[in-house]
Each structure stands twice: as structure tokens, then as C-alpha cells.
Symmetry: C2
């Protein structure tokens, strides 16, 4: 496949820890319900999965935030649970509720029936990737993604979101053999899935370990981190001569940052509980850092949003401006943007990140 | 007031970082729905608040787990939200749901109407403390408690539990002046409340910062930690010649352990995400540590519960056995026990903690 040359490479350069004229910014869930144009498209699509499984709709909503804001990357519009859906668990989204699986994986028979799904069942995702990459026409790079093996396992066993993770942790502690089996299959499936996204046109891939932070110290390393590493070990490192940026985001994972520093990836995402300056001191010598504004700050008045965005940029500290590699920051939220966010506040945020981060490069002490 | 002399002082000695013959253990929410005898008493009381506001019922349920298990401390049966209820916000518990306030604090007028409540409105709590302490008859010490100023503010603004803390964080970022005003009042109210519990017979007091961990780095220090410190500064340090142990537990707070190490308290509680060995290295020289088994481990078979309890004890490491002060561990869960816990599994846990921690004192390398 051949796509238009990239016009804005700040995000990919930052992933590779190369200097950039400003700090690149994109937002988790940037194509979403806070945008009226997204709500219009979703209404036409009829449902969330109607949106996600139709490449034209998926392309349309992926590009919507780029038409409003000077974002430095696009991210595939999809869901983290497409892989277990392709395993036959029956994903659905009831209105006003989260995702739900018709056939949760709760006993040995269900675990033994699991297998890496035929990637043809996920063709709609890869078609969307190619369609979006084509429609982007080189404006910004495209990020593909998947849930982490552990995060997928949480949903697969619980059957839905959970407050206490009782079912999945009961399996983990009572039948660790079954949990390891699920995680092996998930890891191999996620790797195949992300590689197919890369072949379809994704220039970076992100693993969302949304629920890694609910695990105990020790269990996190054994049941989440090890399987994220198993995915990374199988990922394509380049495609058609271009390096592929690999990002890992563990919500609530800042406690284990030193251990995550050993992952074979380019970027680690951090939520707002982390101090970017400390994270930089710990792992900034080998990994780019992505994050970490609390999305609730977007409910504050513009002056406060500006002040808090500047605080995040300053907490990372002076940008590297040399010709080699160095500490590198990609601005993002510490979690997906809320559906209640006023769209004009996102404009304030994106513009502030660009303006202040340019100033930081001019005046290193800003 | 005069109470029977204390027979088991392991918990209070451990709080003061003095050596003990075994690692003391108690469990957050140890008097609760997982016990059939608790469910019987609650049925007689008619409701949760019916239980909490009647000193005889509160005494009965507080002592129930002590009759089953060799726990080393009792904790007042009450709720963390009694203080805002006494402020007039109208606390209720709908069946199968969490707490709810009839009059949440959402605007300037509501904030300006707040005041430290007359402690006479909380007399039922202090009466329960005295009744429980009397009924304990010196078996184990009694812990009193309150929610932290920030955690109370979360419920007061949200009006109930929350997934995203949108309302309280919107106030925090949009009107920090109002948030500081709420927190000042809460801190002074919590201090008065805990001091009255101490006067009524509580031998230790614990501040539950259940929602401190949802704050961004920087915001945690300004809106949670500073007001916990404001409570501690006002607390009685001793009562009738006996030192009062002061415990602070921030769920999700292990990232800020070094800063919490500066609090004027005796014990810091940790959830299961923390590594006790690292925590000990960081602050074990000045604070006792309390925690941190994932309560979901109690759903596993007994052999696994034993193994995981031993893992927690070993992660803290060799107990101090000298005559002065030294690193000190109080075993607990990292969160309240689940209502679905099999009661016989708690027996396995308590017995394992006692047995293995005695062995650790005999064989320092166990």
C-alpha cells in the first residue's frame, strides 16, 4: 500500500525521542461524544458497533476532531474489546451502559474453548485503518490500538465493567493456570491484531492496560506486565521501511514505572497521579512519556485550563532540542476525554500546549 | 471514664513501633455483611443507619468478629459520612446502593451555609464508642475513625459515589476558593469529631482518605494531604495518660508515600498496589505501616490465602525484636472486606498471620 507523505511528523519524532518544534498533543477518545458532529454520525450509524464496524463512519468520526483542532495525531476509531468479540464472546453496548459480553469466560470449559481468532473476523478494523490513513492524506500519523491481555481478560471474565474485579481476581488467585491460559491467548491475539493494523496502515500502536492498576504488587508484574511484554515481543518494529512507534499505557501504573521502563516499547503513557518530572528522571533516558492532564480540568474556565496545561508541560521540564535523542514528551490526557467536555475548551488546551511548548524551546527556563 | 486494663496491646505497641510477639492483624470492615450474625443484627435494626445510631446494636456488631477470630483490634462500627450528615446534608442508604446526600453542596450558597456541626448531633457515635470500649473489657484496643476532609468533600459535592468525580473536580478546578472553604470546615469538624471519640474511649483514630488517590499529582498535596495534616495538628496526642495512635490511610496513595512520611501521625495504611518492602525502606524509620492484602484473595482456597498472607508478611521483611523502636507492620487488607467473603477464610488469614509472624520472630530469615 502507498499513502501520501506525512506532513506533520512531530508525534512520530517525539515517540522516537527526537527533537520537535513543539510538544505534540492528541487526546484519548478525541473522536467522541463531546463533539456534536460525532453524535450526528452515531445517530446515523444507529449504534456504537454500527459506527465501529463501518469503515466510512469510522473514517468520518476519526477525522472530525482534526478538522476542529490542530491535533498532532489521529487514533483509529474502534473499541478495546473487538478481539474478545472476534473470539465469539458476543460484545454489545446497551444504551447508557458500558460494554457487555453475552458469553463471559468463567469456567475451565470456557477457557479451554478460547483461541486466537481468525483475523478475518476483524477485517472491518483493518479496512477502517486503511480508509482512515488514506483519508488523512498525510496530515498527521495514525495510531492503532488494542486492550492489553489483562484488560481484555477482566472484561472477558467479569462480562462487563466491574467495581471490585471480584470474578476475575477470584479466577486469578484460585486458578492461576486458567488465568495464564487466557492471557497467553490474549497476548498472541493482540499481537496478531496490532500487526494487522500496522500492515493496514497504522504508523503507531498503543496498548491500553486500562485495568493494570487494580492488581496487587507482584500480581501486576505476573499477570499484566509479562503479557504486555509478550505482545511487544511479537510486534512488527517497522513496516515498508518506516519504524512503528509502540506505546504502552497502564492506568494507575505509575508505581511500577521503573519496571515498565524495561518494556521493549518507545513510549509509556501516564495518568495524572504521576509526576512527569520524576518519571522523566526515572525512565526519560530510554522512553518518551505521554500524558497526563486530568480530563476533569477541561470543565474549568479557559484561564485555568491554560494554567494547568502549562503546569503539565513545566512538570516534564525543558525540552530536548539537540540533533540526537533525548527526553521527550507527548501531551495527552491521563484518561479518555469526558462526553460532557465543552468542545471550545479542547481548543484552549491544544492551542496552549502548542504555544507554551514553542516558548519553552525558545527560552529554556520558561 | 475508667475502663478495664488492656490485655492485648500488640496493636498499640506496633503503632508506636515497639516490638511485638506477633504481627497484629485487624481488617477494615471486619464487622460487616460477610458475617451471618451481622446480617441478623442489621435485620433487627431495620437499616444501616438504624444500626449505626443505636449504641447497643453498634456494640453488638463491633464485637461479633472478635468472637470468631483472634483479631488484635476492634474498630468502631459507624460510617465515614456521619460528619456531613450532622452538617445537615441528609445522609441515607438506599438498599443495594451506596450512601446518598439529599442536599449536595454544589454552589457558593451551599458552601457558605456549611459550618462545623455541633458535636452533640454526633453524640450517638460517642455513646457507641464508650459502650463498645466498656463491652470490650480490655480484650483489644478500640479504633475510632472518620473520612478525610477531601473524601468527605467528594461525597458532599457529588451527593453520592462517583465514577469520574466530575462535579467535585469541576468545583476544585473552577472554584478552588470554595473547595478550600469546604476542606477547612471539614478538617476542623473531623478534628473535633475524632477528639470527641478519643474522649469517649477510642485508643487509636484512623483517617480514611478513600478518594485521595483520584487526585492529580499536585492537587493531592494541595486538596487532600494539606487538610489531613490540618486534622492531625488538632488531634489529642494522649488521653488520661495514654498515647493515642493516629493512622492515615490513603487508598491509591502509595505514589506519594515520601510526602505522606512527613505527616504527624504514627501509622500509614497502604493498599495492595504498594510494595511493603519499598515502603519500609522509604518511611519505615519513622512510621509504622498497615496493610495490604487484596481482599479478593479471600475468595481463593485456604492454601492460596496462606501463601498470599505469608507473601505480604515477607514483603515487609524481618520484624524488629529489640527494646527500642524499629520498623513495624500491622497486617490488614488494602480495602474493606467484601460482603461475599466466606467467613471461614478469614479464620485462615488471621491464624496464618499470627503463626507465620511468630515464626519470623524466631527465625529472622523465615
Amino acid at each position: 500500500m502507498s499513502f501520501a507523505p506525512l506532513q506533520n511528523d512531530t508525534f512520530l519524532r517525539a515517540c522516537r525521542r527526537l527533537s520537535t518544534p513543539h510538544t505534540p498533543v492528541w487526546l484519548m477518545r478525541q473522536a467522541g461524544r463531546y463533539l456534536p458532529e460525532y453524535r450526528d454520525t452515531r445517530a446515523r450509524a444507529g449504534s456504537f458497533m454500527g459506527l465501529a464496524t463501518n469503515k466510512d463512519f469510522a473514517t468520518e468520526v476519526t477525522l472530525q476532531p482534526l478538522d476542529r483542532y490542530a491535533l498532532d495525531a489521529a487514533i483509529l476509531f474502534s473499541d478495546i474489546l473487538t478481539v474478545p468479540d472476534a473470539m465469539g464472546l458476543g460484545l454489545s453496548f446497551a444504551l447508557g451502559e458500558g460494554p457487555r459480553f453475552a458469553k463471559p469466560v468463567r469456567d475451565e470449559a470456557a477457557v479451554m474453548a478460547l483461541a486466537v481468532p481468525d483475523m478475518e473476523k476483524l477485517r472491518y478494523v483493518f479496512d477502517a485503518v486503511t480508509s482512515i490513513r488514506t483519508a488523512l492524506n498525510g496530515r498527521v500519523p495514525l495510531i492503532g490500538f488494542s486492550g492489553s491481555p489483562w484488560t481484555l481478560a477482566c472484561y472477558m471474565v467479569e462480562g462487563a465493567g466491574s467495581d471490585d474485579y471480584r470474578l476475575v481476581k477470584t479466577m486469578l488467585y484460585s486458578r492461576p493456570d486458567l488465568m495464564h491460559r487466557i492471557l497467553e491467548i490474549n497476548a498472541d491475539a493482540v499481537a496478531a491484531y496490532l500487526n494487522a493494523q500496522i500492515e493496514a496502515g497504522a504508523q503507531a500502536v498503543m496498548i491500553f492496560d486500562s485495568w493494570g492498576g487494580v492488581l496487587a504488587d507482584g500480581a501486576f508484574q505476573e499477570f499484566s506486565l509479562a503479557y504486555t511484554a509478550r505482545v511487544l515481543a511479537q510486534l512488527k518494529r517497522e513496516h515498508e521501511g518506516e519504524p512503528i512507534a509502540r506505546i504502552v499505557f497502564t492506568k494507575g501504573g505509575a508505581l511500577w514505572l521503573d519496571e515498565m521502563g524495561g518494556l521493549d516499547c518507545d513510549v509509556l503513557g501516564l495518568d495524572w497521579t504521576a509526576n512527569l518530572g520524576r518519571a522523566r528522571a526515572l525512565i526519560g533516558g530510554t522512553k518518551a512519556l505521554q500524558g497526563n492532564l486530568d480530563p476533569n480540568i477541561l470543565f474549568a474556565p479557559p484561564a485555568r485550563i491554560e494554567a494547568e496545561a502549562i503546569k503539565v508541560l513545566n512538570s516534564f521540564g525543558a525540552p530536548h532540542t539537540g540533533t540526537g535523542t533525548g527526553p521527550s514528551h507527548i501531551f495527552n490526557l491521563g484518561h479518555g476525554i469526558s462526553q460532557h467536555t465543552p468542545p471550545e475548551h479542547v481548543q484552549v488546551l491544544v492551542d496552549t500546549v502548542h504555544r507554551h511548548s514553542k516558548r519553552m524551546r525558545e527560552l529554556p527556563s520558561a
